[in-house]
């Protein structure tokens, strides 16, 4: 019988190693540790609770079912957030079929980049959020973030909500470091402009 784990005090790398040995409690601790940040990121990306639940669940299932492929040279959380972000972006792309898209980012070089940085309007949940917007700053920031282009949204959330470094975000989103910095600077300015109107 394996000894009981003090899972809550183990670093991610140890938990992953135990999960690779088939220890159920290590899997559960990884979920417990990251369910909130992953769900928060995905929810703020897609602005739909039900879709966010499904995407967060899909993220964990994908990661944990492939845990033996994890390479310890990368941070486990980076791998997890990368998959969560990719799933959220894919979901937004699929949802774009029902929305109107205008002007991709000026620096976008490929069609995929144009798609990912396109500004979306006409999304029902965002309109609902607009209607719900109140004077409270937190809610106003949430609304403003929801209106950012998907890649700007990813960058700003990873940088300022999850506290990731620029280098980590670049690795996570497969973008050049300079592009990440530009996106974050632009996102900050867009957010500030949006919030000026609500203050």
């Amino acid at each position: 019988m394996p000894r009981l784990l003090d899972a809550a005090n183990l670093p991610d790398a140890d938990l992953v190693a135990l999960a690779q040995e088939g220890r159920d409690e290590a899997y559960r601790e990884l979920i417990r540790r990251y369910e909130r940040p992953v769900f928060s990121l995905v929810y703020r990306m897609v602005r739909d609770r039900e879709a966010a639940e499904d995407l967060a669940q899909e993220t964990f299932i994908k990661v944990l079912n492939n845990i033996e492929k994890y390479s310890p040279e990368f941070k486990f959380s980076s791998w997890l957030f990368k998959i969560a972000n990719n799933l959220a972006i894919d979901s937004l792309r699929r949802r774009r079929l029902n929305t109107i898209s205008i002007d991709g980012a000026s620096g976008a070089a490929t069609q995929a980049e144009v798609d990912a940085t396109s500004f979306e309007i006409g999304d029902r949940s965002e309109n609902a959020l607009d209607e719900m917007a109140n004077k409270e700053l937190g809610a106003a920031i949430e609304v403003a973030i929801a209106k950012l282009r998907p890649l700007y949204r990813s960058c700003i959330l990873l940088r300022h909500v999850d506290g990731r470094s620029y280098e980590e975000i670049a690795q996570l989103l497969d973008l050049p470091l300079g592009t990440v910095k530009t996106y974050i600077h632009r996102a900050r300015h867009e957010l500030r402009e949006a919030l000026e109107d609500t203050r």
Binding site: E21, I31, E35, F39, S40, Q57, N65, L137, L191
Partner: protein, 195 residues
């Protein structure tokens, strides 16, 4: 040398991110003298801290269980062996010491016997041959009597000895095979009914 104009948004971002590259010294120099730019940078810092304090959101209750329901926890073979072996190790220290002593004693005896056998190879081969022959005769006799009881009439035809043993063996194997197939069919039917 300091700037003669106010800082641009990108320059404020550089300071906010704590950059230290080329040209930043000039910006910080300007910041010391310009109250308006200092206020602008403070406002930017406050704004970023407001984003950073957004609360975490909770998925619905039972999220972990739903995930685990879809996750295939796989125990590699080497871990399974290690776990099984660990299961045999006594939990109390005294019992562990006793088990260790018993194992050491047993292995010492086996090693001693093997060494003696090697030193007296002729005697070992003779005794081994004798024991093997006796065991073979005993086994053959019991199988023959069992087979005669099972296929009595055929025993008359083939008499005793090797042919009878072969027929009895074939009959037993056929019976076992049919039994196995029957059990498999019953299990498959039970699984279908369960589904």
């Amino acid at each position: 040398m300091t700037l003669s104009r106010h800082l641009l948004p990108d320059e404020l971002d550089l300071l906010l991110d704590g950059e230290s590259g080329f040209g930043v010294q000039q910006l910080t120099g300007h910041l010391r003298d310009c109250e308006q730019c200092r206020e602008e940078l403070d406002a930017l810092r406050l704004f970023v801290s407001e984003i950073e304090t957004l609360p975490e959101m909770l998925p619905a209750t039972g999220f972990g269980d739903r995930v685990m329901h879809e996750v295939h926890v796989f125990e590699p073979w080497h871990v399974a062996i290690r776990t099984s072996v660990a299961g045999w190790v006594p939990s109390s220290p005294v019992a562990r010491v006793a088990a260790g002593a018993a194992l050491t004693g047993a292995s010492t005896l086996i090693t001693g016997a093997a060494a003696w056998g090697w030193a007296n190879r002729d005697a070992t081969v003779f005794v081994g041959g004798l024991v093997t022959e006796r065991a073979r005769d005993g086994l053959f006799a019991s199988l023959s009597s069992g087979a005669q009881a099972l296929v009595g009439p055929l025993a008359v035809t083939f008499g005793s000895g090797l042919p009878l043993f072969a027929v009895a063996g074939a009959t037993l194997l056929t019976g076992a095979g049919l039994g196995f197939l029957g059990l498999r069919a019953v299990a498959a039917r039970a699984r279908r009914l369960e589904a």
